[in-house]
């Protein structure tokens, strides 16, 4: 069987909330290229929400909502063992991702759900800060119908 090469989309957006729906639209269009995704509606929503939360974190915390920065996003759709990888780059203020605690969900809280959702909704999440460039990498397997639990 011939292997189908990955397909990529690159977005380079001003760090403004008003453009974030474009990322959701791209994710939806990419997933349409894969047939037989198990519970497509939920999977799409979860990936869109995780990617959106990363972007709002960048706008809010990396750039302090200054509207001066940019977010470079590379979406890569893998067809063999279907998966979506989303790489997001910013040049704002970095933070210690590993030190952010998981919220106590028994307590009804107003803030603190963003990073929790990103971690919960994706299969892998990494964050690295190196020489002024911050890099998020999110991956999610696109489990096909009949492949069992995700």
């Amino acid at each position: 069987m011939t292997s189908r090469p990955p397909e990529s989309i690159i977005l380079d957006l001003p760090a403004r909330y008003s453009y974030l729906h474009l990322l959701s639209d791209c994710i939806a269009d990419m997933l349409l290229l894969v047939d037989g995704i198990d519970d497509r509606e939920a999977l799409l929503y979860n990936i869109q929400l995780a990617a959106h939360e990363v972007c709002t974190n960048i706008v809010n915390h990396a750039y302090h909502n200054s509207a001066k920065g940019r977010i470079r996003i590379v979406l890569t759709l893998h067809f063999d063992d279907p998966a979506l990888q989303i790489d997001l780059y910013d040049t704002g203020i970095s933070f210690d991702f590993a030190s952010v605690p998981t919220p106590d969900l028994d307590e009804v809280r107003i803030h603190g759900y963003g990073l929790f959702l990103i971690r919960q909704l994706m299969d892998t999440v990494t964050y690295t800060a190196d020489r002024g460039c911050n890099h998020w990498c999110l991956t999610k397997s696109l489990c096909l119908e009949g492949c069992g639990s995700r």
Partner: protein
């Protein structure tokens, strides 16, 4: 995102359609601040046509719930789509809110 507000049976109702997120939530937050300032406020947020809810929207709803509780009022949610409800389950906010399948059932509970 579109919002429509009205009052029925002394319940302040808002219907939200489209994306309820960081970019769109401000007018909803302002309306919720206004209606939850009244002692005994009864508020219903109808999410039947809401396609997307992010953590800022969750924060806005939790804040309104707490404000309502402070004035001995009630804030209920209704009509949530499955994908949105799954986020409430994941964050366990489904335990914090009274959530109803539709507006009719929510108003019955609020006015009963």
């Amino acid at each position: 995102m579109n919002m429509k507000t009205r009052v029925a049976a002394d319940v302040n109702i808002v219907e939200l359609s489209g994306r309820l997120d960081t970019n769109s939530v401000q007018p909803v937050a302002a309306w919720l601040d206004q209606v939850t300032a009244t002692p005994g406020a009864r508020v219903l947020v109808n999410l039947a046509e809401t396609t997307f809810v992010d953590s800022t929207a969750l924060a806005t709803l939790v804040r309104a719930l707490k404000r309502c509780q402070q004035v001995q009022g009630d804030l209920y949610l209704c009509g949530m789509r499955r994908t949105v409800y799954m986020i409430f389950e994941l964050t366990r906010l489904d335990k914090a809110f009274n959530i109803f399948v539709d507006e009719e059932h929510a108003i019955q509970a609020l006015t009963g």
